[in-house]
């Protein structure tokens, strides 16, 4: 086919794409060659120096010599050089930063990778910051992310399976696990789930996480996520499966148990005693964060007999003259708190700072002074708001539960709260994520997993992988898993 026709054909394919670029060249020996690429994703310098210049330089001394072979030889320096099998692959490659080379009177084409993606450097993610420990975080580029993982897992056992999801986005997905550790059944289940996805595009990992959920769709997180390669590595070592999505700095891990959100990477970079204390603090803060407003409302509305007299006098005097009943008052402040939180996230950073000042000082103080809300209620909602962020990954669930328990406390008192707790526990123990009970290793109780449960023992004592997860190789250290 004539090279012009080829270019025209491609131009038709990319008709609406203004960044589709073509260039026709004539080699020294007079052969016509065309190169095509997507402007914004190709390194222009590399293109000029390593593609255009060598191609122009081709001089066929022997008329029998094949221009294609010679061109291929000239491009040998590229790590990714191939002949696409069909037009679809050719186009996909162009979209992925490849430069296509077309030849006059030849059906063969060549593609070489000259991609230059805009990549953020692996910086410390804003969540899960550590005091002492690795500061690298995943970025939006899947290659960098894989490199970060590979840097930590230098083993041939590391399996990286490729997938592409999204008819329009063609997002690259990688399923990463350790061959001898991860349970093949779970790997197959994950692959099957991912392969079944038919969607126009995957913009971020969170799209996938909803497809990966096994049970009913609930407010509770069923898929683990992390922004840090050290956490992802640790999870892979435990026998979990990591799922990387191109364009997203969030790496998903399955199976997921609730305990994971109680743990933080910090716990492993500090002494076990400190880690244990912090874990209990987190748990306590989480529980208080859910229950305190509900308890406050329940106590004031139904059970003042349970409040010590001096505290009661203080509270009674402060709520005197407040027009709203306790339930509405607390709901109003929770609403205000959530609005402030949401607004401060969305606002530009320089405004966010002033907003927090406005929110905390002016709104809170003025509301109290105006007699709209009482200081204890503001205090309680503020305390619980802060407490729920000790479990950052669960904060959205916690704020939802907080609202539910506040309503239960206001409607039914302590009775409502107890009913709520029992239902919540009953509900959570029923959930599982890829065979791992959601509340493991507490329900069902797994003795071996307690070593890294609510308390953390030293690494010497943690000889086994979690029993709560299905995995093929339980042993982590050369000795057996029995306790000394």
């Amino acid at each position: 086919m004539n090279i012009q026709k080829k270019i025209e054909h491609l131009k038709q394919k990319f008709s609406q794409t203004s960044d589709f670029a073509t260039r026709e060249l004539v080699t020294k020996s007079g052969e016509n060659i065309a190169i095509v690429w997507i402007e914004n994703v190709v390194d222009q310098l590399l293109l000029a120096q390593s593609v255009i210049a060598p191609l122009q330089d081709i001089n066929l001394h022997n008329k029998n010599a094949d221009i294609f072979t010679i061109a291929k030889e000239k491009m040998i320096a590229f790590s990714k050089l191939s002949e696409p099998a069909d037009e679809k692959t050719f186009i996909e490659s162009l979209l992925n930063g490849f430069v296509g080379i077309l030849f006059e009177n030849s059906e063969k084409t060549l593609i070489v990778e000259c991609a230059k993606w805009i990549v953020r450097l692996p910086a410390e993610p804003p969540t899960s910051a550590v005091v002492e420990g690795p500061r690298e975080g995943f970025v939006e580029d899947i290659i960098t992310n894989m490199a970060l993982l590979r840097k930590r897992l230098k083993t041939p056992n590391l399996v990286i399976d490729k997938l592409k999801i999204g008819e329009e986005t063609n997002s690259q997905i990688r399923i990463i696990y350790l061959k001898d550790v991860a349970d093949p059944k779970i790997v197959n289940k994950v692959k099957k789930k991912l392969e079944e996805i038919e969607i126009d595009g995957i913009v971020d990992s969170h799209y996938l996480s909803e497809f990966l959920m096994t049970g009913k769709h609930t407010i509770f997180k069923q898929i683990g996520s992390t922004e840090k390669p050290d956490i992802a590595t640790a999870k892979i070592l435990e026998g979990r499966i990591a799922i990387l999505t191109d364009g997203s700095p969030i790496v998903l891990t399955v199976p997921f148990v609730l305990l994971e959100d109680l743990q933080s990477s910090n716990d492993y970079y500090t002494t076990p005693a400190r880690a244990t204390l912090i874990r209990y603090l987190r748990l306590t803060a989480g529980i208080i964060g859910i229950l305190l407003p509900g308890l406050y409302v329940a106590l004031l509305t139904y059970h003042i007999k349970a409040i010590p007299i001096k505290l009661l006098i203080t509270i009674t005097n402060s709520i005197q003259g407040i027009p709203l009943p306790p339930l509405l008052e607390v709901i109003f402040i929770i609403f205000l708190f959530e609005i402030l939180y949401e607004a401060s996230l969305r606002m530009p950073r320089y405004m966010g700072l002033s907003l927090s000042v406005v929110g905390a000082l002016i709104l809170g103080d003025t509301a109290v002074k105006a007699g709209l809300v009482s200081p204890p209620a503001v205090l309680i909602v503020a305390i619980t708001g802060v407490m729920s962020y000790t479990l950052p990954e669960q904060s959205s669930q916690l704020s939802f539960l907080r609202l539910i328990f506040t309503i239960l406390g206001g409607f039914l008192g302590i009775f409502g709260i107890i009913v709520g707790i029992l239902f919540l526990i009953g509900y959570l123990v029923n959930m599982d994520s890829y065979g791992a009970p959601y509340l493991a290793p507490f329900a069902p109780y797994i003795k071996a997993d307690q070593k890294d449960g609510l308390y953390r023992k030293t690494f010497m004592r943690q000889r086994t992988r979690p029993f709560s997860l299905q995995n093929n190789n339980k042993r982590r250290q050369s000795n057996d898993g029995t306790d000394e």
């Binding site: 004031l300 509305t301 139904y302 059970h303 003042i304 007999k305 007299i309 001096k310 009661l312 006098i313 203080t314 509270i315 009674t316 005097n317 402060s318 709520i319 005197q320 003259g321 009943p325 306790p326 339930l327 509405l328 007699g371 309503i407 206001g410 409607f411 039914l412």
Partner: protein, 418 residues
């Protein structure tokens, strides 16, 4: 399909249930606003015969009020406690809650009748805590209550502190509602409560008994007329709540006798729970000292009881083992001699034996006179010699008078506490 339909039905039922509750719950004010919280109760006899004057100390919230807020008093004369409280509810316009009631003060006049008939309403209801303190006062209980109306004043705490101290160091200190009933229902039918008085004084300070802390603190007195709540102002004279260590002893629910602090010291000897005390022995004479006065602290007091019935006479033999520490030795006008070790010898032991014997006899006489059995000897005899004890009781004309026939003997051994 059926399952999801069922789930939807359940979900709608839950939502419906919450919707039904919503109108009432969303508008439900704080209980502290719609209830009157009673923190103390005083019961006096009314001027009208047969009626009780009941005064409740009630928290009336003030917007922006401080923790130091004064509590209001509400009084009503009625035939029974129940009726008074009900009438007070009409006055205050709120339902009176008793859960936070810390103490019930009973005047001497009230205690002349069986107070369990008055308190029965409280004990049976679930409204009041078992640990509510019961306090007996010589004067008008309403005055004592008004002295404790200032939440932040030490007087509220003072009542508790005195009771706590009494419980630890003195016989029969603090009695609460349930322990009173516990004793009242026992075969000995003897219960007791602390006698706390209030004195009006220009300055605060204790003038308590010899061996207990005395209350001190300030609070302004208040007078309130019947049927109105009042918070007093302008009374410059200060009320001081104090206990001189006296105890009101109740027999069959009635106050049988108020034991003075001196008499109570005698009772303290018989109480195994009271371990520590300061004792002064006078007129000690031996080869070193002559007519000396020596003060000792009893660091340990071990009592061994032996209960027996010999010839139908219940006899108690008590052996006192006293661990002593010498505190002060005076001879005439001179100060203590240079005695470095604890000064304990036969003369001292003898002096102790005499002192204890006298005290025990005194306390037994008081008990025999009124028929009450403070240390529950009834039970001890039942445990140790049940058959003989039953025989003894059946031989009495009135089995309740069993105390009269009991003989008590003491023996004393003294040793250095070190």
């Amino acid at each position: 399909m059926r399952k999801s339909l069922f789930n939807k039905i359940i979900l709608w039922c839950v939502i419906l249930f919450l919707l039904i509750l919503a109108p009432t719950s969303l508008d439900m004010p704080s209980q502290s606003v719609v209830r009157a919280i009673c923190t103390g109760l005083a019961i006096d006899t009314s001027n009208e015969s047969g009626k009780l004057e009941v005064t409740a100390q009630i928290l009336i919230p003030e917007a922006g009020g401080q923790y130091t807020q004064k509590l209001s008093l509400v009084s009503y004369d009625a035939k029974s406690l129940e009726e008074s409280l009900e009438m007070m509810e009409y006055q205050v316009g709120k339902k009176i809650r008793m859960e936070h009631c810390c103490f019930i003060i009973l005047s001497n006049a009230v205690c002349e009748r069986n107070i369990t008939t008055i308190l029965d309403y409280l004990v049976r209801g679930n409204n009041i805590g078992n640990n509510t303190l019961l306090i007996h006062t010589d004067g008008k209980s309403k005055d004592l209550l008004s002295a404790t109306s200032n939440v932040n004043s030490s007087e509220v705490d003072n009542l508790q502190v005195i009771s706590e101290y009494n419980e630890k160091y003195l016989f029969s200190g603090g009695a609460n509602l349930l322990s009173f009933y516990h004793d009242y229902l026992s075969p000995h039918k003897t219960s007791y409560m602390a006698n706390i008085t209030m004195i009006k004084d220009d300055k605060s300070g204790g003038n308590g008994g010899t061996d207990q802390s005395s209350g001190s603190g300030s609070g302004s007195g208040s007078e309130s007329s019947q049927g109105s709540s009042s918070s007093d102002k302008g009374n410059t004279q200060e009320d001081v709540v104090t206990s001189d260590g006296s105890v009101a002893i109740f027999y069959k629910g009635k106050c049988a006798r108020v034991v003075t602090s001196e008499e109570r010291e005698d009772f303290n000897w018989l109480d195994p729970k009271v371990e520590k005390a300061m004792v002064q022995i006078e007129n000690v004479s031996d080869n070193i000292l002559k007519n000396a006065t020596i003060s000792y602290t009893i660091e340990r007091k071990k009592m061994t009881h032996k209960f027996e019935i010999v010839n139908n006479v219940p006899t108690i033999r008590i052996n006192f083992d006293l661990g002593l520490q010498t505190e002060m030795v005076l001879q005439g006008d001179e100060s203590s001699l240079p005695i470095f070790d604890d000064y304990i010898n036969d003369a001292v032991t003898l002096a102790f034996a005499e002192k204890i014997d006298r005290a025990v006899k005194n306390s037994m006489n008081i008990q025999k006179e009124h028929g009450f059995d403070v240390f529950d000897y009834y039970k001890e005899f039942s445990i140790n010699c049940n058959a003989d004890w039953k025989k003894y009781l059946s031989s009495l004309e009135n089995p309740d008078d069993y105390m009269k026939g009991i003989e008590i003997f003491t023996e004393v051994t003294c040793y250095s506490a070190f």
